[in-house]
């Protein structure tokens, strides 16, 4: 079972490892090549045009502003239909509720559809501790579960595995002759997982989006594994982040279309299922119990902070991963938690601690590609900046102390210099002399600064002080122009 730990402190180390991995780099650039461009094109082809993303943003903002009303309505409708709803403030409560069901029903085997929120709350290890075998059934998730790893992409979790590695895994775990042929590998997994589906006592899924008005949750998949997991076992437990809801079906329709385009450049996923409750009298399949677990786990803190409320509009389509230059080079594992890429760089610090996740938001480039790709038009760069501001200035609400003395002192010094022209000029002159001691590139840039500034030049060069300062050059040229 893949234990989910928070490893955000190891960002730099893991990022380095990702960059050094040629297989990962190739896989990621292939993914970004296909999906990154395809998504932009898919938005353009929308009948309403790419502006539908702004409409969707407004729908999501409205839903978030009325979250209490929408969740009450959803819960009431599901209960009327014979389902149960549990509201969990923390990961522990959510996991404990599910473990309680497993214990009551004597569940031995659970089949699970891909769900990021269950990664976030570390459901699998908790159920394993209760003696429940949890089988991931999305092919990509199944592969990494066999390998004992964690997902490296929200939609393509096994993007970092080659067919050769998968061939070895399947030969070892499924007892099949070694093959690197994707159709044959897929078929081997199909056969093995079909047995699990038919034998399982519990099906576990996430929720892509709920509709409050009708009282349904919905799931989207291409493989059909979620349909299996929500149809065959006697109990279905669905987990949703509390923000994954809209008020009405017509609003749902817009979000779903953008979700499918953002996630995988499709007009629609192969299977979209709307689940409103358990099996009804007379029906021969479907679970006899349906439970929905609505998870807060730190989301209400984001909701309460106007700087970060916008992040709750996110539907985890992962379009931002497919365009991010940083994600494209370091891969998903560096982000050290369930969520990777730009969405991870904002959500993970907010959910698990800003100080702990500082490298995630410092690592992004602020290039803005994520905002352009976001199916919900979320301003991720703005929130990355807000996080950086909190890291520098501190924020008692988020438990962050102002950053250490050195950087602060350096900027103070800088402030003092630039606001005194005479002093500034003298400092420049001194710099022009001192920089002669420093190693240069062929183009004349400074290759290495002395400590404590050496970090800056670790991966880039520094421009030297000009032989003739701009202010002097400017004055001279104006004089020439006046004469001429």
């Amino acid at each position: 079972m893949s234990a989910i730990r928070i490893r955000t402190e190891r960002y730099v180390e893991e990022a380095r490892r990702g960059i050094a991995d040629p297989v990962l780099r190739r896989a990621l650039s292939g993914l970004q090549e296909r999906f990154g461009r395809g998504t932009a094109e898919a938005y353009r082809r929308l009948p309403e045009g790419p502006g539908l993303r702004q409409t969707a943003h407004a729908i999501r903002e409205k839903a978030i502003a009325h979250l209490d009303i929408l969740l009450e309505r959803l819960a009431r409708r599901i209960r009327e239909n014979g389902g149960e709803v549990f509201f969990a403030a923390t990961a522990e409560e959510a996991v404990g509720y599910c473990a309680g069901i497993a214990r009551r029903l004597g569940v031995k085997l659970a089949v699970k559809g891909k769900s990021m929120v269950t990664e976030e709350i570390a459901l699998n290890p908790a159920l394993a501790a209760h003696g429940v075998e949890v089988v991931e059934t999305d092919l990509g998730e199944y592969i990494i579960q066999l390998a004992g790893e964690t997902p490296s992409h929200i939609i393509a979790p096994a993007i970092h595995k080659t067919r050769n590695e998968i061939a070895d895994l399947f030969a070892q775990h499924l007892g099949i002759p070694r093959t690197t042929d994707p159709p044959r590998l897929t078929h081997a997994a199909r056969r093995a997982l079909r047995e699990k589906f038919l034998a399982a006592d519990m099906g576990i899924s996430g929720v892509n989006l709920a509709c409050a008005e009708t009282g349904h949750i919905s799931t989207v998949s291409n493989e059909g594994n979620i349909r299996m997991a929500t149809t065959l076992p006697r109990v279905h437990v669905a987990f949703m982040g509390m923000e994954r809801i809209v008020a009405r079906l017509d609003e749902y329709e817009i979000i779903l279309r953008l979700l499918c385009r953002g996630a995988s450049v499709q007009d629609i996923g192969t299977y979209v299922s709307f689940i409103g409750g358990p099996r009804r009298p007379g029906e021969s399949d479907g679970p006899e119990e349906f439970h929905l677990v609505v998870v807060d786990n730190g989301r209400s803190r984001m909701l309460a902070d106007p700087r970060f409320r916008e992040m709750l509009c996110c539907i985890r389509c992962a379009a931002c991963l497919n365009v991010c230059p940083v994600y494209g080079r370091i891969g998903g594992h560096a982000y050290g938690f369930a969520y990777s890429g730009p969405v991870g760089a904002v959500v993970t610090p907010l959910l698990t601690g800003i100080r702990r996740g500082r490298d995630l938001c410092l690592g992004e480039t602020l290039c803005g590609a994520c905002k352009d790709a976001c199916s919900m038009d979320i301003d991720l760069p703005r929130m990355l900046l807000e996080l950086r501001a909190i890291l520098a200035e501190g924020d008692p609400g988020w438990g962050v102390e102002p950053s250490g003395g050195l950087e602060r002192q350096a900027w103070k010094l800088w402030e003092g210099l630039v606001s005194r022209p005479a002093l500034y000029e003298r400092a420049l002159q001194a710099g022009a002399v001192l920089q002669r001691l420093l190693p240069r590139t062929p183009a004349g840039w400074i290759r290495r600064l002395p400590p404590p500034f050496s970090g800056w030049t670790k991966s880039r060069d520094f421009p030297p002080v000009a032989a003739e300062p701009f202010r002097r050059r400017f004055a001279k040229r104006r004089k020439e122009a006046d004469r001429g």
């Binding site: 993914l31 509201f87 509390m242 192969t270 409103g276 021969s284 479907g286 309460a304």
Partner: protein, 260 residues
């Protein structure tokens, strides 16, 4: 009850985060309108006033959308042609998991009117109809009946359903859940055959949702407890981004458009 305490706290936190008094449930206001919007009225009029010719255009749109999804669409003259098309599939395809050929179909008037039972019986091929579970049965007997039905569905290589709607834009078959119409018929067999009456082809999801929200005939049942959109056979691209059909659900899917 412990659950209630947690729920109360959850909503208190939520309302506080939203800047509202923590203990007062807020009114829904106009979040859930009781009347269709102007746009929805337009859609409803569009659907109800649709001509035969416009519907015919949908057939080609549907076929075009289906092609890249590996979804086969056959427009059939009448029920006899649909029956023959099913029998052809039975003859041409072989069971994926071994064993003898068996079919499963919903106990649905449209499917039963195909008259498949007799020609299949002549070939010695079992056709299972998924009857609703009798409410007079006690719990153990009902469980037994469900188990029996499931093992028949799992043993069948072709599953036949009748769609509530079909969306031309995305080549989507829409199934609602009812007794006698188990969803696993469209899931466990290797080949899913969906019958679609031509009058049930809509342009897109917008039209469907307008009907399900406001049209009296469809509104009562609403989305049912399990509404499915199925757009083609099951697929995955999780191994080095290579597309493979038949991940967990059916590896082939056929839509038969029939009159009605």
């Amino acid at each position: 009850m412990a659950e209630h305490r947690e729920e109360t706290l959850f909503f208190q936190t939520l309302r506080r985060a939203l800047g509202h008094p923590p203990n007062a449930a807020r009114p829904a206001g106009d979040l859930f309108p009781a009347e269709p919007s102007a746009e929805e009225r337009r859609l409803l009029a569009l659907v109800s006033g649709r001509s035969e010719q416009e519907r015919e255009e949908f057939v080609s749109r549907l076929a075009a959308a289906a092609r890249p999804l590996h979804l086969e669409v056959q427009a059939l003259e009448d029920l006899a042609a649909a029956r023959d098309a099913v029998l052809r599939l039975v003859a041409e395809k072989s069971p994926e998991w071994g064993g003898e050929k068996q079919l499963v179909a919903w106990s649905h008037p449209l499917i039963e009117s195909l008259g498949l039972a007799e020609p299949l019986a002549r070939q010695g091929i079992p056709l299972h109809l998924t009857r609703p579970v009798d409410s007079a049965l006690d719990a153990a007997a009902a469980d037994e009946e469900r188990r029996r039905q499931r093992s028949r569905i799992a043993a069948s290589f072709i599953g036949i359903t009748a769609a509530d709607f079909c969306l031309a834009e995305t080549a989507t078959v829409v199934l609602r859940n009812r007794p006698g119409e188990p969803r696993s018929v469209a899931l466990l067999p290797s080949i899913h055959v969906a019958l679609v009456p031509r009058s049930r082809i809509l342009a897109d999801m917008k039209e469907l949702f307008a009907l399900l929200r406001w049209e009296e005939r469809f509104r009562t049942e609403g989305l049912s407890n399990y509404l499915s959109f199925i757009s083609g056979p099951s697929k995955t691209a999780d191994i080095e981004a290579t597309m493979v059909h038949g991940a967990h659900g059916p590896r082939e899917m056929v839509v038969f458009l029939v009159p009605g």
